[in-house]
């Protein structure tokens, strides 16, 4: 009894935090989403589904998010995996530390500034100019979905690399030798042992990046140049510019629902795909 009381006391701050900072605002948003826009903006109480009926007006933002968030996650995964693999398995220990630091260092600068830098790199004076030099004319990157994708990969790569790196790092190298000893070539060893055992890292990385991407607004705002809108941008616009809080709340609620659905389907697939228990004792 005593220990359960202590447990509850210890959990109290976290519970309060979640209640006040997450559950309460979410409730407010849900309630607002059934209300109306005030004459001078803001919110007037009410109960209708009008705001939800109006959702198709923001279809493009939903579409962009639902295409670019998974695409960005996938692209980040495809680039991060070989990198993490190299760091965890192949790199010699001295170089490894240097490379890990190089992945972290950019985080010391604000993402805003780093993304601004990409405006220049992808803009007319950047990569397209370089391509012109090699004779490839008329490439446009900035303000297209591709520039947003590049920005996403750049910004989210470390978040993908680290979980995969950790799962590959703790992979028992003797398992790889055991596989080869049993006649599996290095490629089959990768497919049969390394890849399945790094699924927890892949799952964590993908989830992290995907959830954050669903709420992303900075990268599309800067690199999409008002042409590639995410739901995040729609929300900024609805709450801060047009001050249509009720409609904004409906969009936000829908985003949360879509996110919950995707993540729970994803989790279910992952659970079924790998029944790896973390606390496997190899001894």
């Amino acid at each position: 009894m005593k220990s359960s009381l202590v447990h509850r006391l210890l959990l109290l701050p976290a519970t309060m935090w979640l209640l006040v900072m997450l559950v309460l605002p979410l409730l407010v948003v849900i309630i607002f989403s059934f209300g109306d826009r005030g004459p001078a903006g803001g919110y007037v109480p009410g109960f209708s589904l009008d705001q939800y009926a109006n959702l198709p007006a923001r279809f493009t933002a939903f579409k962009n998010t639902m295409i670019l968030a998974p695409a960005g996650t996938l692209a980040a995964l495809l680039i991060a995996y070989p990198l993490a693999y190299y760091l965890a398995v192949k790199a010699n220990p001295n170089i490894k530390t240097v490379l890990l630091v190089m992945i972290i260092v950019p985080f010391w600068t604000s993402i805003l500034i780093r993304t601004y830098a990409w405006i220049y790199i992808l803009g007319g004076q950047g990569i397209p100019k370089m391509l012109e030099f090699f004779g490839v004319e008329g490439v446009r990157l900035i303000n297209t979905p591709y520039s947003v994708l590049i920005g996403i990969i750049y910004g989210y790569l470390p978040l993908m690399v680290f979980p995969i790196y950790v799962s590959l790092e703790k992979l028992d190298k003797r398992l790889l030798e055991a596989s080869q000893d049993l006649g599996a070539s290095p490629i089959r060893t990768f497919r049969n042992v390394t890849l399945p055992l790094s699924i927890p890292g892949i799952a964590t990385g993908c989830m992290l990046v995907f959830i954050l991407l669903m709420g992303e607004f900075l990268i599309p705002a800067l690199l999409g140049g008002g042409k590639v809108f995410f739901i995040g941008n729609a929300l900024v616009d609805l709450f801060l510019q047009s001050r249509n809080w009720a409609y904004g709340s409906a969009v936000a609620t829908t985003l949360v629902i879509v996110m919950l659905l995707t993540v729970s389907i994803y989790m279910k697939l992952m659970m079924r795909g790998s029944n790896i228990r973390e606390e496997v004792s190899l001894l």
């Binding site: 080869q180 049993l182 006649g183 290095p186 228990r277 001894l283």
Partner: protein, 375 residues
Amino acid sequence: MRVSSKDSVVSFQNVWKRYGEVIAASNLNLDVQSGEFLSFLGPSGCGKTTTLRMIAGFDQPSEGDVILKGKRVNGVPAFKRPVNMVFQHYALFPHLNVADNVAYGLKQRSPRPPSKEIESRVSESLELVQLAGYQNRRIWEMSGGQQQRVALARALINKPEVLLLDEPLAALDRKLRREMQIELQNLQRNVGITFILVTHDQEEALSMSDRVCIMREGEIIQVGSPRELYDNPLNRYIADFIGKSNFFDGVVQKSSANDLEIRLNNGAQIVAANSRQHNTYASAAPVTISIRPEQLMLSRRVSQLPDEKAIVINAAVRNRIFLGEHTEYLLYNEQFGEFLALSPRQNEIGEPPFEVNEDIHISWNQEATLVLNHD
């Protein structure tokens, strides 16, 4: 007894392995015969694992040749070699169940055997290691001893030319280890596959193997049957490593066809039979003599001692340890210092056991005296 490398399964020819400055294997020459149970025995860091890994194909020799079934395999990667290994901590695949772990090797074959055949061979191998019916267990649901058996089944299902075992029993508790030693021995006789085992437990090596290969600092010092190694160790190091012994340093005084006269550093004169010895010794050669504890005869009266050639000295009983069938005595003589003696129980019938502080006689036959190089 050097067999030509054609008839042997594994053969090392002047094999060296260097890691930078460290020499992990130095000029190894060894032929392992088909169907034998051979152990590498030696202290930690002497190069046992390195040697085994060169057979498996995980490490390549820096110099010299490794021959498998008459073919030079330097540079051939592990997955192309017809040998399998049981790893020290088993290295079972945690994401696969028992059946899939055991079937792993068969599934890598091309063409891959039909799944019916895989299934029946998996249950066959599991039966072999007494795990029938465990197919669907997860690895983490198995005890240490059971995991050990899965690892054995996973290797044996491939019917390798050689099974390599790197300290396979080190993680098991004493009793289980004893059981597994007997089981491994039986298994090896049943399947007829060559077993090469690495261990630093001399009791394990002696009790299981047909031949033991003793290593030290990257070198093979002596290869022989457990009995040969015990009775005829090449030098003091091996005599000390294999079993217990009483050692006394001295110098050869006279060497004749039959006898070796030795003057020990403690002043005693000893005559040893020359026929027993590995090496020939010239006068003035520094040597160590060794007498095994069970070859010392203990008695209250000199008249009871059998051989007139025997060496007899007085000694006081310092300590007595009852070990069941044997009693171990620690004895002390002014000139020689301490002696360790192992007296079998049946030899004590006439006399009650000797008491601590009792003055008795120790004797040993000339044949019991082994003359050895210092190292």
